[in-house]
Amino acid sequence: MEIVVCVKPVPEGETRLRASADGASLDPEAVKFVLAGYDESAVEQALLLKESLPGSKVHAVSLGPAPRTEEVLRAAIALGCDAATWVDSGPAASPDPIDVARALAAALAPLPHDLVLLGKQAGDDEEGLVPAALAEFLGVPDVGHVVDLRWDAGRSRFTFRRAVEAGQETWEAPAPLVVALQQAWNDPRTAKLPAILKSRKVPIARVPPVALVPGVGRSQSVRFELPPPRSGARLVDFQTPEQAAEKLVKLLREEAKVFP
């Protein structure tokens, strides 16, 4: 089976963010970029399928600027992906998601693909628009919120489960298919040291910069602000939960005056 997994570099959770000089986006200089959490689950799903279906290959694809995009592709290779393609976005900071999907589809079309996996949304902007748009541009069906995916070889169909309100649905669909995955349901693996070193030597195919023209009939990021700093919290010393509640009520009543 030929599997393509699309990944996105996003700021690491512990990164201290700041706005760029023009105030329109995140300043990438101070940020460490990592594989998005949802995409880790997508890579894990791709590798699980590859391991269960001998002869399968996993090709990682990512769109973005240097050097972060190449770095997340190397991380995907270190985890076990066989090949990688970098769709160079040029310096465009926050391209429109539909443009991203169009560029990914163009890069993906020549690659063999029975299955295209993605995280259901990115860990930074949380938009979740690319999977459906990508499926549309590729002309294949797509499903979202998937937590488990198997290939039924006898019937040549994928079966998958979707997390929905108050339960799980089981669906099936033929290949080719775009699948957007939930985060962390499959306990993504950690790359091993020898694989990390080996991943540095795997060539990454580069698709030349694609025209992502912000503002031309598309959405455009105009402002990026950090949340205002929070005013100081008060810590209450206590020995027992009852004492904590008593002290809190006293403060709420006498200082915050939320109770009469």
């Binding site: 050097p67 190397r74 950690t190 790359a191 091993k192 040291l193 020898p194 070193l197 540095r200």
Partner: protein, 382 residues
């Protein structure tokens, strides 16, 4: 001009170690310290990720890293727990004599099967009657046909209760002093080899330290590393390779101490403002940061020299000695910043102080490091 930037490979090695340290080691550090538990499940994961036999070339199943790469990893691991780090990296010390003094046949025979599985090896040099004076070893090796018979006791041996392999330094004739010291690879299964119980330690309590007794243990002559009398030089060359990462281990402990102290100083109030706004605390934090920065750069420099093929005895001794002294001082100042809370076991800094102390003692006590530094220094004036 020197270049202090890390390669993308080194960045990714450091990321791996940082992630492992913070997600796998840190959550268990306090519990393992309190109960002196040897967390096998964590060590097994470290092995599976390739974090255990860092210095063994890949052809023998290790990770094949240079000293600077090892330093980057060790500092990250030690940030989470010094004791666990000691046990994770002890194989590097135990296997280094085989790397430096083993024949291709011995490397093939010992390293390949060893690195294929999760297991521990121990470097057995120190004895109850002395550690630093390695020329005065009492453990005897008597030649009998194509075997040597070992008799004696080693102590303070990291991972000894858990090890499957020991690199043992013994003397063929105590009167020869340094020239009698000879190194052997001794499988634990050898009859007459008896590891003792875990010692109860002040710090590094997630690590295991113990004695090993040799009572008429018959070791094939084919397990001797180098010739008779080559052991002392082999031990010293081994420590030249492994001393620098101990500087990084100390640096990791110190960095953890500073991070705890700075975070606490920003949120703890006295006299109407955070204590980080009092100059007395600012001076502490500034001095701690200076010591850590210097320690890190000294270890990187020593590692860089060794990776270039130089022996680096002077630089690695300076790095280990400075970084370990810095770690104790920084942990002490961090504890002082916490005041009474710092003295409480509920807070993380008193463990760092206890863990830092060992780095001044093991892998060559700092008194020995200073005598090495003075010797190398004076030689340059002769």
């Amino acid at each position: 001009m020197p270049d202090f930037s890390l390669s993308p490979e080194q960045e990714s090695l450091r990321d791996l170690a940082r992630k492992f340290a913070r997600t796998e080691m840190a959550p268990h550090a306090a519990e393992c310290d309190r109960t002196a538990r040897f967390p096998e499940e964590i060590y097994r994961k470290a092995f599976e990720l390739g974090l255990m036999n860092l210095n063994v070339p890949t052809e023998y199943g290790g990770s094949g890293l240079g000293v600077l790469d090892q330093c980057l990893i060790v500092e990250e691991l030690a940030y989470a727990c010094g004791g666990m780090t000691t046990s994770i990296i002890a194989n590097c010390l135990a296997l280094e004599p085989i790397l430096l003094g083993g024949t291709p046949e011995q490397k093939e025979r010992f390293l390949k099967p060893f690195c294929a599985d999760y297991q521990f090896a121990s470097f057995a040099l120190t004895e109850p009657s002395g550690g630093s004076d390695a020329g005065a070893l009492r453990t005897r090796a008597r030649r009998e046909g194509d075997h040597y018979v070992l008799d004696g006791e080693k102590c303070f041996i990291t991972n000894a209760p858990h090890a499957s392999l020991y690199t043992v330094f013994a003397t063929v004739d105590p009167a020869l002093r340094h020239k009698g010291v000879t190194a052997f690879v001794v499988p634990r299964t050898t009859e007459g080899v008896t590891p003792g119980k875990d010692e109860e330690k002040m710090g590094h309590r997630a690590s295991s330290t113990g004695t090993v007794r040799f009572d008429g243990a018959r070791v094939p002559a084919a397990n001797r590393l180098g010739g008779e009398g080559d052991g002392f030089s082999l031990a010293m060359r081994t420590l030249d390779q492994t001393r620098t990462p101990i500087g990084s281990l100390a640096t990791g402990i110190a960095q953890a101490a500073l991070d705890h102290a700075a975070a606490y100083a920003l949120k703890r109030h006295s006299f109407g403002k955070p204590i980080a706004e009092h100059q007395a605390i600012q001076i502490k934090l500034a001095n701690m940061a200076q010591s850590i920065h210097a320690a890190r750069l000294l270890t990187w420099h020593a590692a860089w020299k060794i990776d270039r093929g130089e022996r680096g005895t002077l630089e690695s001794s300076i790095a280990k000695c400075f970084a370990s002294d810095a770690a104790l001082h920084v942990a002490d100042e961090a504890l002082q910043t916490f005041g009474g809370y710092g003295y409480m076991k509920e807070y993380p800094v008193e463990k760092l102080l206890r863990d830092a102390k060992l780095t001044q003692i093991y892998e060559g006590a700092n008194e020995i490091q200073r005598s090495v530094i003075a010797r190398e220094l004076l030689r340059s004036y002769e």
